[in-house]
């Protein structure tokens, strides 16, 4: 059971990501963020919830849809916006952009725009931990589409074979760009397929932050008792187009859910409802939102004003 105080701190993290992405949506059409943005509206509860539960010292890996992961791990809205605006003060000095945010000092080692490619790398990081007889774990986030790549199965097999301390986190929105799972998969369910491997499996509703956190804790506890990889499968609803700031329900490949369903699928409103039910005053949530909003606005403004990398930066960072 997650207590009220902890739930509120989760709310704080969740709202920060949401407001950061809403700011991107507002700013994007000014054409100053010259980077493709894969927004995660609907998905945040997964990164926020899982990262909240990871023990300190954990390493993380992710995909191009990494904003929530970056902010959940670092809370660093300054670096975040600087990178999106392509500025020198971003974590990648503007060389990375939205799709490759990382913060190795905070354990977020790499995110990749080639689907599935960080999965084996995370397994390698777990191998390094096991090799050194350390107890740290590694978590890797990927979409349901990544499961179609051979490298996913090869990595899961190797990790299970070697009993590596790696947590696979599948963020399943049932879509790869515009293609539904039914158009891409010749098997019935990802969890069922994963059950055939020697790993601990957790399944949950990725729109529900508190249950994400509970599921994560349960699997992490199993991993500690009986060292094997963990696998978390969370479903969620992607509110926006695959890449870019807009909704695209008029494109015809999927229906817009009704308002009640939309509220259930929105992790922020879902958590707000739960917090209200638990007796948290709406003014307390309002205060958290106001604080996050001010932080995001400050960071975005600073980033807009910040300088670009000088030309000499083009050729730095290639070689050690």
């Amino acid at each position: 059971m997650i207590r009220k105080k902890e739930a509120l701190s989760l709310y704080q993290k969740l709202v920060l990501v949401r407001l950061a992405e809403e700011t991107i949506r507002e700013e994007y059409f000014n054409d100053e963020m010259k980077t493709p943005v894969h927004l995660g509206i609907g998905a945040y509860a997964i990164s926020v919830g899982v990262c909240h539960c990871l023990p300190s010292g954990a390493k993380t890996f992710g995909t191009y849809r990494n904003h929530a992961l970056y902010l959940a791990v670092t809370g660093d809205t300054d670096g975040f916006f600087a990178e999106l605006y392509g500025k020198l003060s971003g974590p990648g000095k503007g060389k990375a952009g939205s799709m490759h945010l990382c913060a190795p000092a905070r354990g977020l080692m790499a995110t990749s725009a080639v689907v599935g490619t960080t999965i084996p790398v995370a397994v390698g990081a777990a191998l390094a931990n096991a090799y050194r007889k350390g107890s740290d774990i590694v978590a890797v986030f990927f979409g349901d589409g990544a499961v179609e790549e051979g490298v996913f199965w090869e990595s899961l097999n190797f990790a299970s074979l070697k009993r590596l301390p790696v947590l696979f986190v599948c963020e399943d929105n049932n879509l790869a760009i515009h293609a539904h799972a039914s158009e891409r998969r010749g098997f019935r369910s990802i969890p069922d397929a994963v059950r055939a491997f020697d790993c601990h499996l957790g399944i949950g509703d990725g729109s529900d932050l508190l249950s994400v956190a509970q599921n994560t804790r349960a699997v992490l506890a199993q991993m500690t008792r009986d060292l094997k990889p963990g696998f978390l499968h969370f479903t969620y609803f992607r509110f926006l187009e695959h890449v870019g700031p807009r909704e695209d329900f008029d494109a015809g490949y999927r229906e817009k859910p009704g308002p009640k369903e939309m509220a259930r699928l929105d992790p922020v409103r879902r958590l707000e409802t739960e917090l209200l039910r638990r007796g948290v005053a709406s003014s307390a949530m309002e205060a958290i939102r106001a604080e996050a909003s001010a932080k995001v606005r400050r960071s975005a403004e600073e980033a807009q004003k910040a300088p670009f990398a000088p030309p000499a930066e083009l050729t730095t960072d290639v070689w050690a």
Partner: protein, 348 residues
């Protein structure tokens, strides 16, 4: 008489697919995103409606396996067109491409035929960064058994794609992202044979040997240089393999100066091949060593100021021409460059 009309590169590629699919029922188009409403920047739009889902379909994210599937279909008499929204994803399929596709005919003693086209998108977009921007034409052409095509004009998008689909060899067909919106005349009856370069512009001062987008940059550079009486000749290579050496050599022998502007990294790139051809075959005629232009020797950065330095462009070409000919630098203030960048918006 051909039917000529003005169309975009995107529509030209689309029309080539339509015409080949109409002509030959063994032609089919598959790959991620080919059958959705966006249809690979519009280039595969309408194919499902015209030809049905058997002949135009999406796939799982499984580049390695799907490339093998294309190969299997090709050696069994079909003519697959396998499409990738980014050439970088072909690196996941390199085993099938470099160990299988390029070798099976040879190892079967010529008994297997591989009529297969792999279309993939290269080049700049809205901050595409290091994993969505590779060209790779030189790498593919390195493997004997693969043909490699880099069209630039709508007519070539149309004509070379039709020729590639009809070719009985595997062809890697690489389309620059920014070309899709460019319009030009397309003669529907004109296919363009593989293995023939085109002289895009005649001139006597320098030969610019260009691939893909570099042709667009070179034309812009030529326009500015012409104002001071420097007429450059532009050779659009069009097919990397087979390479039309004669057109390149003929031009360099006339102008006696050669700059290779390849849309790729310079080191170990196709530009080195072009420079070797010009140097070897025009040795006695060249007045200066062959100059090479290409990407900066770093992974492609996202941020626009560094990305503009990463890519060679019209100003880079102008400076190289001036240097080669010992001319003073043209004042480029007031010139407008990156016109496509101004027009091109995100998010992808």
């Amino acid at each position: 008489m051909g039917i000529k009309s003005l169309m975009t590169f995107r529509d030209a590629v689309n029309l080539a697919l339509v015409r080949e699919m109409e002509r030959d029922p063994s032609v089919f188009v598959f790959g991620l995103d080919v059958a959705d409403h966006k249809g690979i920047f519009g280039s595969t739009q309408g194919l499902v409606e015209k030809f049905g889902r058997e002949r135009c379909f999406g796939t799982p994210l499984s580049e390695d396996a799907m490339t093998g599937v294309a190969l299997g279909a090709a050696i069994s008499g079909l003519r697959p067109v396998h499409v990738h929204i980014r050439a970088d994803f072909l690196l996941l399929a390199m085993n099938q491409i470099a160990n299988m596709m390029s070798t099976l005919r040879y190892m079967s003693g010529g008994k297997l035929t591989i009529p297969l086209v792999v279309r993939a998108v290269i080049g700049r977009g809205w901050g595409q960064s290091a994993q969505h921007s590779k060209s790779l034409h030189g790498m593919f052409a390195h493997f004997p058994g693969l043909k490699v095509v880099v069209p630039t004009t709508p007519q070539d998008g149309y004509g070379l794609l039709r020729a590639s689909i009809r070719d009985d060899n595997p062809v890697i067909f690489l389309e620059h992202r920014w070309l899709y919106d460019i319009s030009g005349e397309v003669d529907e009856n004109e296919t363009v044979p593989l293995g023939r370069a085109a002289i895009r512009r005649e001139g006597d001062a320098v030969t610019l040997v260009c691939t893909s987008w570099m042709n667009v940059e070179a034309l812009k550079a030529a326009e500015i240089l012409a104002r001071r009486g420097v007429e450059v000749e532009i050779v659009d290579v069009r097919t990397v393999m087979p390479l039309d050496e004669e057109t390149i050599v003929g031009s360099v022998n006339r102008t006696r100066h050669c700059i290779v502007a390849d849309y790729d990294w310079i080191f170990c790139g196709f530009g080195a091949e072009l420079a070797a051809v010009a140097s070897q075959r025009c040795f006695g005629r060249l007045k200066q060593p062959v100059e090479r232009l290409g990407f900066a020797p770093v992974p492609c950065p996202t941020t626009r100021p560094l990305e503009n330095l990463f890519y060679p462009s019209a100003p880079t070409i102008i400076r190289a021409v001036e240097k080669l000919l010992g001319l003073e630098e043209t004042d480029l203030r007031g010139e407008s460059f990156y016109s496509y960048e101004q027009r091109f918006k995100g998010p992808f």
